[in-house]
């Protein structure tokens, strides 16, 4: 394990050091004094573990392909952008557009998140990205979702003053994948393209599996979280705009 002191380093130098360490065969890297540096772990292809102290900047883990990244602070915007494989765990809140176009791997946020989280996630066969949000989310959660699994827990672990678990336009344009919410959504919050369904046994299993892993990583009590009711949100059609056009 090596420690890289990020204090005063521009992102390009910091990320070069990280890539050098990975190329040199390091399997555990600690980044100390991180303060807004962007693109950490961007497109790294090996299963290295990166622990971050301080707040990493935007595009943390963009195009990432294998590492496990643990952030002991809040995160910013665009975490796990188009991520392919690996895992990111944030012990705090995070910003907007997390997991945009995510293709695989896991993203766990302990606290609250901003707008457009989990939009346009994809999946193919057994490659299914997973996002679990501990707190609440703002508008456009799961917009255009084409695959993957989104779980929104609404735990009182963040510092968001909103008493709603999610904002409006929830899952608008969704045409694949599944969202589970621990709590209720009002009809007006939902996109036109989705329906709320009851969870069945196989849904329960999925929820248990990911919530247990999430709680384990973040030091929470899984059983306590799983006591409450979940709802399932799915697309009503693979082709939400199929009849929009005059052929």
């Amino acid at each position: 394990m090596i420690t890289i002191d990020a204090k005063g380093l521009p992102y390009r130098e910091l990320n070069e050091k990280v890539r050098e360490a990975v190329a040199g065969g390091e399997t555990e890297i600690k980044l100390a004094n991180v303060n807004g540096q962007r693109y950490i772990a961007d497109a790294i292809d090996s299963p290295v573990q990166i622990t971050i102290e301080g707040v990493p900047g935007n595009d943390l883990g963009a195009f990432m392909n294998g590492p496990t990244v643990i952030v002991h602070a809040n995160g910013q915007d665009h975490i796990a952008n188009t991520m392919n494989e690996g895992k990111i765990v944030v012990h705090g809140d995070a910003g907007d557009v997390l997991g945009y176009g995510m293709r695989g791997g896991k993203l766990f946020i302990k606290g609250d998140v901003g707008y457009r989280v989990g939009i346009h996630m994809k999946e193919y066969k057994d490659k299914v990205p997973v996002i679990v949000i501990g707190g609440t989310a703002r508008d456009f959660f799961g917009e255009y979702m084409a695959g993957g699994t989104l779980i929104l827990l609404g735990l009182d672990t963040g510092n968001n003053d909103s008493d709603q678990i999610a904002g409006n336009y929830f899952a608008t344009g969704m045409h694949g994948g599944v969202i589970y919410v621990r709590g209720k959504l009002e009809d007006y919050q939902l996109g036109k393209e989705v329906a709320v369904l009851e969870v069945d046994d196989s849904d329960r299993q999925t929820i248990e599996k990911y919530v247990t892993e999430f709680a384990g990583d973040l030091g929470l009590d899984a059983d306590d979280i799983l006591k409450d009711e979940f709802i399932k949100i799915k697309a009503v059609s693979h082709r939400p705009y199929g009849n929009l056009y005059a052929y």
């Binding site: 457009r116 693979h238 705009y241």
Partner: protein, 505 residues
């Protein structure tokens, strides 16, 4: 509901020639030709889209597709077309959809610009026997260079940003796997490799089997992020962020579910039969600063080894936007004019939004020069380039190179029927139907593409030689070699050209 729409064409069959062989019946995916109960072929005009496939393949030349423009009584306003659109929408309530580029009779400025040639005072060059350089480097150029003499030899001290080298200033435009067939992609990849230039994946990802063309491939990162992963980025020669497309500025795209079969589903990572939705904006880009973030995210991902291009559609404020893109760190700016093609676009947007590429090139080149940053980014112009004359004029206006989309499809067999969005392209190009796709032989299509670009490159060399210029670089942005015929003062001002007949100085 009974349709009021009239057949657009009349299919004429010369019964003296027809041998009732049924080629037309098999060739028409729109089912315009059929056998009747007695086994005689007949046709249904209203189904025909005028793709000319049956005409080309009829062994006895028995078929003619003729214009069936209905007589509209004394009216230049309520034309047959306007009435047709209204009927279509009255019958469906839908958004009018179409394919290919803007077909409206807007002025084509290329046809109002003429090139110069040498006479007496400056000898012309014969490219058949004298050196002629079409080689073009795309990428950011330094503000100045430092050269140090080491043991009497000059050594370049300035670090040059990554470049891609083209043997001719012509590339193939972004056309996605999904919009076009696998065989069409293969043909483009093969032709680009043989020509020493580049093709562009568009936003649909790169099929596994096409990675072999990666050294000549520009990969796109678009708002849907289809097929984008580190291997795809690493493999490419350059990466293009797609912001906009000339045929549909400001809107996203829906690849219809009919075109999402198993292989497209795998490459794009979306369910079979679902529409592939590309959001209108990239939701991580709401400003020039955000664009810069994605540009550098891609540079970080590929360790600053390849140029990053940003493609936009030509719109009113294109010059200021291009300046922002150059300042955001892009190495290449690709600009798509409103005649640029598409696999599917709402007709009203295609026909009414955006500006001609000629004006956009001139405006962008002038703006970047004024600001002293023209060297920071190369310019690729796109949008309806029809021949080598258009290409060389674009370079004289200030482009570094030109993207060919529609012209490349026409070379492969496309007859511009504008029905790409149906997935039934009878030429095997804009389809994912295995039966139709087989019609496009990638070997033959690649050869046709190669021939087209070879021919255009020769013509460009000839025209350059005629001007007494021996390198395409010397023509770039050299508007003194262009003159205007039949344009207004304002148009000439934007284009930065003088009226024909005015002297060189």
């Amino acid at each position: 509901m009974k349709t009021y729409q009239l057949p657009e064409v009349r299919i004429e069959r010369d019964k003296d020639r027809c041998i009732n062989c049924g080629v037309c019946v098999r060739q028409c995916a729109f089912n315009a030709h059929k056998f009747d109960e007695d086994g005689e072929v007949y046709s249904e005009d209203e189904k025909c889209v005028a793709c000319q496939r049956c005409v080309s393949l009829c062994p006895t030349n028995a078929l003619y597709i003729k214009d069936n423009a209905p007589f509209v009584k004394d009216n230049a306003n309520w034309t047959a077309e306007t009435q047709k659109y209204i009927w279509k929408q009255a019958e469906t309530g839908g958004v009018l959809l179409t394919g290919m580029g803007n077909p409206k009779p807007y002025p084509i400025y290329w046809d109002h610009l003429v090139l110069n040639a040498s006479q007496v005072t400056n000898p012309s060059i014969d490219p058949l026997r004298e050196p002629m350089e079409l080689r073009t480097y795309l990428g950011s150029k330094p503000d100045h260079i430092e050269i140090e003499m080491v043991n009497g030899e000059p050594v370049l001290r300035t670090k040059i940003a990554p470049q891609i080298m083209l043997k001719t200033p012509i590339l193939f435009s972004a056309m996605s796997y999904g919009a076009i067939s696998y065989n069409a992609c293969e043909a483009l990849g093969r032709a680009a490799t043989e020509l020493g230039t580049f093709w562009n994946t568009g936003e649909g990802g790169l099929h596994r089997n096409l990675y072999k063309y990666a050294p000549n491939t520009i990969v796109q990162v678009a708002s849907g992020r289809f097929g984008v992963h580190s291997e795809y980025l690493d493999a490419a020669a350059a990466i293009e962020i797609k912001i906009g497309q000339g045929a549909k500025p400001g809107i996203g795209g829906h690849l219809p579910g009919e075109k999402v079969g198993p292989a497209v589903s795998e490459t794009r990572m979306i369910p079979v039969g679902s529409d592939a939705l590309s959001p209108a904006p990239h939701h991580d880009i709401y400003s020039i600063e955000d664009l810069s973030q994605l540009i550098f995210s891609l540079k970080e991902a590929t360790e600053y080894t390849k140029p990053i291009s940003v493609k936009i559609s030509a719109v009113h404020n294109v010059a200021a936007i291009a300046s922002g893109i150059a300042r955001a760190g892009a190495d290449i700016i690709a600009i798509d004019g409103f005649r640029g093609g598409t696999g599917a676009a709402p007709t009203m947007i295609r026909d009414n939004v955006g500006i001609p590429i000629e004006l956009a090139i001139a405006a962008v080149d002038a703006r970047l020069r004024e600001e002293g940053i023209r060297n920071r980014a190369s310019i690729i112009a796109a949008g309806g380039f029809r021949n080598s004359g258009d290409v060389i004029k674009a370079i004289a206006l200030g482009a570094d190179a030109v993207y060919l989309g529609t012209a490349a499809l026409v070379a492969m067999g496309c007859h511009v029927c504008q029905k790409c969005y149906t997935g039934k392209c009878n030429w095997g190009i804009a389809t994912q139907n295995p039966y139709l796709e087989k019609r496009l032989n990638p070997d033959i299509a690649a050869e046709r593409l190669y021939n087209l670009v070879r021919g255009w490159s020769h013509e460009i060399s000839e025209m350059l030689g005629g001007m007494g210029i021996n390198a395409i670089e010397s023509l770039r942005g050299n508007r003194l070699h262009l003159r205007a015929v039949g344009l207004s003062r304002e148009e000439m001002d934007v284009l930065g050209v003088q009226v024909a007949g005015s002297p060189m100085a």
